[in-house]
């Protein structure tokens, strides 16, 4: 039996994973800002996804994806066998609600970007207790 080519392997991964991300690094340790942003978006939906670190075979994988999808920069998100896009597109579709539809998941509530504010009992900024007139 002949060795499957890299292209065969990639096509198989795209087929076998409903959501598949080709990224630089891993979800635990992304090695590029754009890849990290896509991971963050996917993680927020709580959906299962496959992740492939392209760094060990960057140029060969660029060539394979160029052949398969006519696209050669990473990260690349595939859903249901089709290339959705890179970071820009994923973030746009997340904002618009389209990604939720595509993933079959609900768009998660996003916490406000500001840090949590914990009011302490001795916080001088707290306003004085309300005076209730009886």
């Amino acid at each position: 039996m002949t060795e499957p080519s890299l292209k065969d392997r990639v096509e198989e991964l795209i087929r076998d994973n409903q959501v598949l991300l080709f990224m630089k690094g891993t979800p635990e340790q992304p090695r590029c800002g754009f890849s990290m942003r896509v991971v963050n978006v996917l993680e927020s939906y709580g959906v299962e996804y496959g992740a492939v670190d392209v760094l060990p075979a960057l140029q060969p994988l660029r060539e394979v994806t160029a052949e398969i999808s006519d696209w050669q920069t990473f990260p690349q998100l595939y859903v249901n066998g089709e290339l959705v896009g890179g970071c820009d597109i994923v973030e746009e579709m997340d904002e618009s609600g389209e990604l939720a539809g595509l993933l079959g998941a609900e768009r998660p509530e996003r916490p406000a970007p500001t840090a949590k504010q914990e009011l302490k009992a001795d916080d001088p900024q707290q306003s004085p207790p309300m005076q209730i007139e009886r």
Partner: protein, 78 residues
């Protein structure tokens, strides 16, 4: 090898006649660029197809390493 934002803009404009193109340098090192393109040629195309048209316009500069990263935002004219 760096590339000017003007050159990128001109390449995209040449490839998409009639498009409104803006290119900015995101990091000041001239290799992380952001292109915002509004073009009638995008009508009816999916986002990825629109992005492909922009990418193709500057493919040679990706290939020679002048552009390290290009963020793209596309839209269809009103």
């Amino acid at each position: 090898m760096a590339i000017s934002t003007d050159e990128v803009r001109l390449m995209i404009e040449a490839s998409l006649p009639g498009a409104q193109v803006e290119v900015i340098d995101e990091t000041g090192t001239q290799d992380h660029l952001r292109a915002t393109v509004t073009a009638p040629q995008f009508e009816g195309l999916s986002r990825i197809e629109q992005h492909k048209l922009v990418k193709k316009a500057v493919q040679t500069r990706f290939d020679d390493g002048s552009i390290h990263a290009l963020s793209i935002k596309t839209s269809v004219p009103e």
